[in-house]
């Protein structure tokens, strides 16, 4: 209960896991109120128009041919006046291009690799923190949680930028390492894969900690006491009880980090090398620099195809968490 009370106030992220209960005035509404359709219609129409329709347009353009015009793509459907028929020309060239051009296959696998490694590091750093917070006293818990949320409210862009100052050749980290005599030459930290991992872990850490915390906080601690009474060492009790119970939190947190990280644009642009781009950057370069809207659209569709499974999994886990709540 304390959990759902704090949920709406301080920590908008972990409420991702805590959603609705079974409604009861629903029956009343359904039977007695015609206005309900109107009310449902407001967010529904907005999202259909500005969230679903855009994807259909992207899908459509991904099948068309690039053209020197404004907008720079050929129409997919044409009214053939002579035959009085609507002619659709589906063009798979963009997708073939993605599959055959080495660049795209490489950037896709690189993006997945970066996202996966960053997710793993988020988990390694976030799990002990979430665990420590969940086992603190209730007063300290809300303080720790607020400290986790606070950076999330400050500008994401500026927090990534802060790392440029730390990782530069004459940046703080190199100065500190040389100051204590660990290294003689400054290390190249900025514009490397390492810098991208740090940037992603740093920006997405709250997304990992909050679902993990929401899970760990609900655990029944008497299970651990029972294990201790029966002679299990704390580490064994952790591995056989706490860890398996926290798998839903691990999955939710990991997906919450992994999915957006694959398409990340700002972090690799500021911290990563320009030799190996991530897929989000390639998409925007195709669009802005090459003005090739059809290829950019097919890249977007390819990213979506890659992510559709994790997204469905995310929604599935979220719903299961709800079912377990009641």
């Amino acid at each position: 209960m304390a959990n759902s009370l704090t949920a709406g106030r301080l920590n908008p992220l972990y409420v991702l896991l805590l959603r609705y209960g079974p409604p009861r005035w629903s029956n009343y509404i359904r039977e007695h109120w015609l206005g309900q359709r109107l009310v449902i219609g407001i967010p529904f129409v907005w999202l259909l128009l500005f969230f679903v329709a855009p994807f259909l347009i992207v899908l459509k353009i991904s099948f068309s041919e690039v053209q020197l015009a404004m907008p720079p793509y050929a129409p997919l459907f044409e009214w053939a006046a002579e035959t009085k028929r609507l002619v659709a020309t589906f063009n798979l060239d963009n997708y073939l291009f993605l599959l055959t051009d080495d660049l795209y296959v490489r950037t896709f696998s690189y993006s997945v690799k970066v996202a996966a490694i960053s997710t793993l590091f988020c988990l390694l750093i976030g799990y002990p923190m979430a665990y420590a917070i969940a086992r603190s006293s209730p007063t300290m818990r809300s303080v720790w949680l607020m400290l986790i949320i606070l950076p999330f409210w400050t500008s994401f862009l500026l927090r990534v930028y802060a790392w440029v100052g730390l990782l530069k050749t004459d940046g703080l980290i190199n100065q500190a390492l040389m100051g204590v005599g660990l290294i003689n030459e400054p290390l190249t930290l900025l514009y490397t894969d390492f810098a991208v991992y740090i940037g992603i872990v740093y920006s997405y850490l709250p997304f990992m900690i909050l679902p993990l915390y929401a899970n760990l906080e609900k655990h029944d601690l008497t299970l651990l006491e029972a294990a201790a009474d029966l002679g299990a060492k704390p580490i064994k009790a952790f591995l056989t009880i706490t860890l398996p119970l926290s798998i839903p939190g691990i999955v939710a947190g990991s997906l919450l980090v992994f999915i957006p990280a694959v398409g990340e644009y700002v972090i690799p642009s500021l911290l990563g090398s320009s030799d190996q781009l991530m897929i989000g950057r390639v998409l925007s370069d195709e669009f802005f620099s090459n003005r090739d809207w059809p290829v950019a659209s097919s890249v977007a569709i390819a990213i979506l195809l890659l992510l559709v499974l994790p997204i469905v999994l995310f929604q599935r886990f979220q719903n299961r968490e709800l079912a377990g709540q009641k």
Binding site: G8, R9, F51, P71, G165, P260, I311
Partner: protein, 281 residues
Amino acid sequence: MTSRGWFRYSALAAGFAFLYVPILSMIFFSFNNSRLVTVWDSANSPTLKWYGELFQNDQILRAAWLSIQIAAMTATGAVILGTVAGLVLARFGPFRGRAVLSAMTTAPLVMPEVITGLSLLLLFVAMEQLIGWPQGRGMLTITIAHITFAMAYVTVVVQSRLAGFDDSLEEAALDLGAKPAKVFFRITLPLILPAVISGWLLAFTLSWDDVVISQFVAGPGSSTLPMVIFSKVRLGVSPDINALATIMVLIVATGVVLSALYLKRQEARRVREEQLARAGD
């Protein structure tokens, strides 16, 4: 037990150091005299000169004003749409299209921004061709795009707040003959007000912070503050950005702490009033 306590505190200490050292270093070097951001010029520092420069930078001031306007409109729009969506999902029970609405409000939470940005831009271009609206791109298109992804967050916040209350008060009011609209404004809305307020703040922050989606749907002459910052820091570190960051961090930190205290007090008062009401029975 003590060894576990030690482990817990070191995990927290290391984690919070990781989260806060970059922010603190940014604040520290905003008072540095040298243009080389990370080399402390001890002879002439600390100084406020970068703050002075910041307030003379027209480009940044104009962009900040645009961003504030967009963020305020976004937050208001997203709160209205998100509250309605949250209410519908939490209270309206099963209806046709419920699963679709639920999916449409969760997907934007994890959707990579480049995809949202690209697809919205293509929609705006197509709409302009078809119906001549929206004309060109700028404040309006950025606001629409921001509302669309921010409302998903508001929905989740409102929905979970509603889940924390059972609906007996609402049912009682309906049984006594109040119209659903009246029930909403007199009972539901006051109950979920803290969630609505934090939803508004969250939507404001999300919009204020967004660079990727804005870059896609902005037109010439409508650069938001994050867009200006992004193009500046791509060229390397710049001390006036440190000053800007410091100001923003201070505002946000004060705001978050104050609103947390305020909401905590409200909550305590509500609980106390409920207890009094029960005691009065």
